[in-house]
């Protein structure tokens, strides 16, 4: 097979210019009402333009790897790499009065004020630079720019280009075979928001935004210790997304950490835009129904989990941190569990458990008891249900399918709408649709009650990613109930427990502390013991140090009496 001839870079550049010229011509012709005839030409030019741009971009070995000091060539190289991107700005200016310079930066990612005042103005005022030889040029320019902040010099084109793409500004000086890379990064970012995904009545409300640096700053504010480490990784061949693996040194299990970082490094993907893109690469089982990581946007929660010996992965451009390893119980803990008293928290956790059981079993039991094991139902209740089902044309299983479909549609629609409209939709769905569907004789009253409790029960799960497995398994449960009644429900339950017992999340048994049994873990599972008694980190995480708090005896009862009053008066 003959070797393909490599395209000549200058020829390609000329072709691009020609294409642009043709496009302008086309635009002029379009203004004279020749649109129909120009359609083909337009599309052909588009194809030509994109093809040539891609061809130029792929001819890396044709690109110079070292900076030559020629500004025209620098501009040309950049143009060739980024194409006609309007956000990449090339700004020529004069250093002193005689030496030309070139700034390259991405508009929107940089602080324009810093460029104007700290780079352009300083260099334009530096008359001594324009008089020096090229050898002294670098040192003098660096001296002028060093006041800006973080400045590096490089003569490598790939290095310059990648840094410009992340918000730095490249400064080229005519005759200088190097470029200055000035840290002018200023991303457009939300202010630090309060969490809306994991709300809490009490306790901290701060959430992450989309900027990785802010993620780290926020965590650093929570854990003011040099033990808090961030391992920086870059994933995405094209997107070059920064990923930070956060952990507490001296707490986290080193082997666990190395496994996680290894898996992060192994990610081979062109574009990574969100945390889930990374997280799904890290799971032990790609098709597991139950999640093996938790995404949280609460800074306090991530800090707490790091303190437990877990690892958090922060992905640039995503406000959710990936927490791992996770067990089933971890998904039923929330930040506010630790902001309330022991009894409040324990009660809330029991209600969550009851909600899960209601959400998972209510409708299957309804089907089992009305379709298969009718004899197990107390007669008065059965007659009530039978009475409410008079005139309903569908069997119970179809009723369940209809109602659950309605719930899912309402849920999805409410998610898609703005918050205010979502509330309205929920009300409309609950009141209007519920009443109307009963009056229409499609489902019965008992089914409405059952469906409502099911939906509410599954909503009590704090972590959204944990509701999805139950929503899937709900249908397996329905199938079991429809085919085998109560026995089917039991069979599916046993299957679920067996499946959960066989799962692991980064070497952590998914059902801990219940299986394998770890009594110390029970203190913070279904119940939540008083915080002074939570003295050990989870055993399943194998942290370097299990003890996280020293035992402090309960204070002796203290009573304010006359003696105390005298004491305070004296003082």
């Amino acid at each position: 097979m003959p070797k393909a001839k490599r395209p000549d870079k200058e020829a390609v550049s000329r072709a691009i210019k020609l294409a642009r010229t043709l496009r302008q011509t086309q635009h002029q012709m379009a203004t004279h009402a020749h649109e129909a005839a120009l359609d083909d030409l337009t599309s052909a030019l588009d194809r030509l333009d994109s093809t040539l741009t891609m061809t130029l971009a792929t001819t890396d070995d044709q690109q110079p790897t070292r900076i030559s000091g020629d500004l025209a060539q620098a501009e040309q190289v950049f143009h060739g790499l980024v194409g006609p991107s309007p956000d990449v700005v090339f700004r020529r200016f004069w250093i002193g009065t005689r030496r030309p310079g070139l700034l390259v930066f991405v508009d929107g990612l940089v602080d324009n004020e810093m460029i104007d005042q700290d780079i352009v103005q300083r260099l334009e005022d530096a008359s001594d630079i324009s008089q020096t030889s090229p050898k002294q040029l670098g040192a003098l320019a660096y001296d002028r720019l060093i006041t800006v902040g973080h400045v590096t010099t490089t003569s490598s084109w790939p290095s310059v280009v990648s840094k410009v793409m992340t918000g730095n500004t490249a400064v080229f000086v005519q005759g200088l075979p190097r470029a200055f890379v000035v840290d002018t990064v200023k991303y457009p970012a939300r202010t630090v928001p309060s969490t809306k995904i994991e709300p809490a009545i009490k306790g901290p409300q701060e959430a992450f935004n989309e900027v990785g640096l802010t993620h780290m700053n926020q965590l650093r504010r929570w854990l003011r210790s040099p033990r808090l480490h961030f391992d920086s990784h870059t994933v995405g061949k094209i997107s070059q997304t920064p990923v930070y693996v956060a952990y507490l040194d001296g707490v986290v299990n080193r082997e666990l950490l190395s496994r996680i970082t290894d898996r992060v490094d192994r990610i081979e993907r062109d574009v990574v835009t969100r945390a889930n893109d990374v997280a799904e690469y890290l799971s032990d089982r790609r098709l597991a129904v139950f999640p093996q990581f938790r995404l949280s946007d609460r800074v306090d929660w991530v800090a707490r989990e790091l303190g437990q010996g877990k690892v958090a992965i922060l992905v640039e451009n995503d406000p959710f941190a990936i927490l791992m390893p996770m067990t089933l119980v971890d998904f039923y803990k929330t930040s506010q569990d630790y902001s309330f008293s022991t009894w409040d928290s324990t009660l809330i956790r029991l209600i969550r458990l009851a909600g899960l059981l209601a959400g998972l079993y209510l409708m299957p039991l309804y089907i089992a008891l009305t379709s298969v094991n009718v004899d197990l139902m107390p007669t008065p209740l059965l007659l009530t249900i039978d009475g409410s089902r008079q005139g309903i044309p569908f069997p119970p299983v179809v009723e369940v399918m209809i109602m659950y479909l309605i719930i899912e549609i309402l849920r999805e629609a409410a998610n898609r709408l703005p918050q205010q409209l979502g509330v309205t939709l929920g009300t409309v769905g609950a009141v209007v649709v519920g009443t109307a569907i009963v009056k229409a004789g499609i489902v019965d009253d008992v089914m409405i009650v059952s469906a409502t409790l099911t939906a509410l029960g599954l909503f009590t799960t704090p972590a959204f990613e944990m509701t999805t497995p139950w929503r899937w398994l709900f249908w397996v449960m329905i199938l079991g109930a429809y085919l085998l009644g109560i026995f089917g429900i039991l069979l599916v339950t046993v299957g679920i427990v067996a499946y959960l017992a066989g799962m692991e999340s980064f070497g952590t048994p998914y059902l801990t502390p219940f299986g394998p049994l770890q009594m110390s873990g029970w203190a913070d599972s279904i119940m939540r013991w008083p915080i002074p008694l939570l003295q050990r980190r989870p055993e399943d995480l194998r942290p370097v140090h299990r003890r996280k708090a020293e035992p402090v005896p309960t204070p002796k009862p203290f009573r304010l009496g006359p003696r105390n009053s005298k004491g305070s008066t004296k003082s």
Partner: protein, 367 residues
């Protein structure tokens, strides 16, 4: 592995019997089933099924509601020389499957012959779908008249039995008897089955009597008082009452509950049966001008004497009629198999003694 999974799913589908599952709306919920003799030694069976109006009347806020003029239940009758024929005829009259899994009561006419009763009882034990926890009762009323009756207290006739027998301490005599308990009396000539008798009243039903069967035939219907007296010996009476004359005035002793023990022995070839009753109760309607405390002992003695006398009369009468609802004969047959005829003779001439110890508690409490 794949083949194993396929086989497992196939087995689940084939062997579970789910194909025969019928949803609730495809089943005719039979709440009461009644049996009576038909012409030409046939068996008549009746199934009482709630109507849609009757069902909707149970739910408030439902789309439909049972109006007062509507029937809350309907009855399907069947007749045949065998029970299966009668069932088949009844089934042909409804377009839903007759479902016996929620049966509330099985009513036996007292006019059923022994053979018919035995055939019916035996058949009932073999209907797998039948709810054997249903209450078993006997009635003297004609079948159609009985099934047409709707008590005022419940919207559905079938729910009467749940309310009547649901509370174990609410009746004077706990005459609750389940269908499954009939089975042990079949082919056991040494013991006599008893069933509560349900009678028709203008307001509905009434249950305070007992029917005692001999050879699967209703042999004797006890009066209310006899039922209460026998109830003491059987340990079924929990709200007995005795009216006494004390110092020229009437005194009521109520809430009498007995804890019986029966001993029997042979003395000189004669059967002696001794019943010990430990009875508790409370005093009501005591004269206001008297202090109760000093009189309690006397009241206890008088109550004991009256209960002893009443119970002795009742048990002696049963004994003379060769009726043994106390299952004493069952114990004898266990110890002396093959000597049942001797036992019957001895039992008919047995000497009864009843010792009653009354302790009146909760003085003055009205329950």
């Amino acid at each position: 592995m794949g083949m194993q999974a396929i086989v497992m799913f196939l087995m689940l589908g084939i062997l579970t019997g789910c194909a025969s599952n019928r949803p609730l709306n495809e089943r005719a919920l039979v709440l009461v089933m009644a049996f009576a003799p038909g012409p030409h030694k046939q068996i008549s069976v009746a199934f009482q099924i709630p109507t849609p109006q009757g069902l909707t009347s149970l739910t408030s806020g439902s789309t439909g509601s049972g109006s007062p003029g509507h029937k809350t239940s309907y009855t399907v009758f069947g007749r045949g020389s065998t029970l299966s024929q009668a069932f088949g005829q009844a089934q042909s009259q409804v377009n839903q499957g007759l479902y016996l899994g929620q049966l509330q009561a099985v009513i036996f006419s007292t006019r059923l012959s022994g053979a018919q009763f035995q055939a019916i009882s035996s058949a009932l034990t073999r209907i797998g779908q039948l709810d054997k926890t249903a209450f078993a009762l006997a009635t003297t009323a004609p079948l159609r008249q009985f099934m047409r009756k709707t008590p005022d207290s419940t919207p559905l006739p079938g729910l009467y039995y749940t309310t009547e027998f649901g509370c174990s301490q609410c009746q004077t005599v706990q005459l609750r008897r389940r269908v499954w308990s009939i089975e042990k009396y079949l082919n056991a000539p040494a013991q006599n089955l008893w069933l509560p008798l349900i009678t028709l009243e203008p307001q509905g039903f009434h249950v305070d009597q007992m029917v005692i069967y001999r050879h699967n035939h209703a042999a004797k219907i006890l009066s209310s008082q006899q039922t209460a007296d026998i109830g003491y010996v059987l340990g079924l009476t929990s709200k007995g009452a005795v009216n006494l004359h004390w110092d020229g005035q009437t005194v009521s002793v109520r809430s009498l509950k007995a804890n019986p023990k029966i001993r029997w022995q042979w003395i000189d070839g004669l059967l002696h049966i001794h019943v010990y009753l430990r009875v508790t109760g409370s005093v009501e309607e005591f004269p206001a001008d008297l202090e109760l405390g000093p009189h309690v002992r006397g009241l206890q003695q008088q109550t004991s004497a009256q209960l002893s006398s009443d119970c002795l009369t009742a048990v002696t009468k049963l004994s003379r009629n060769d009726l043994d609802p106390f299952t004493i004969g069952n114990a004898y047959e266990w110890q002396h198999p093959g000597t049942l005829s001797q036992w019957r003779d001895a039992y008919a001439h047995a000497t009864w003694a009843i010792t009653v110890t009354v302790r009146l508690q909760q003085l003055g409490d009205a329950t």
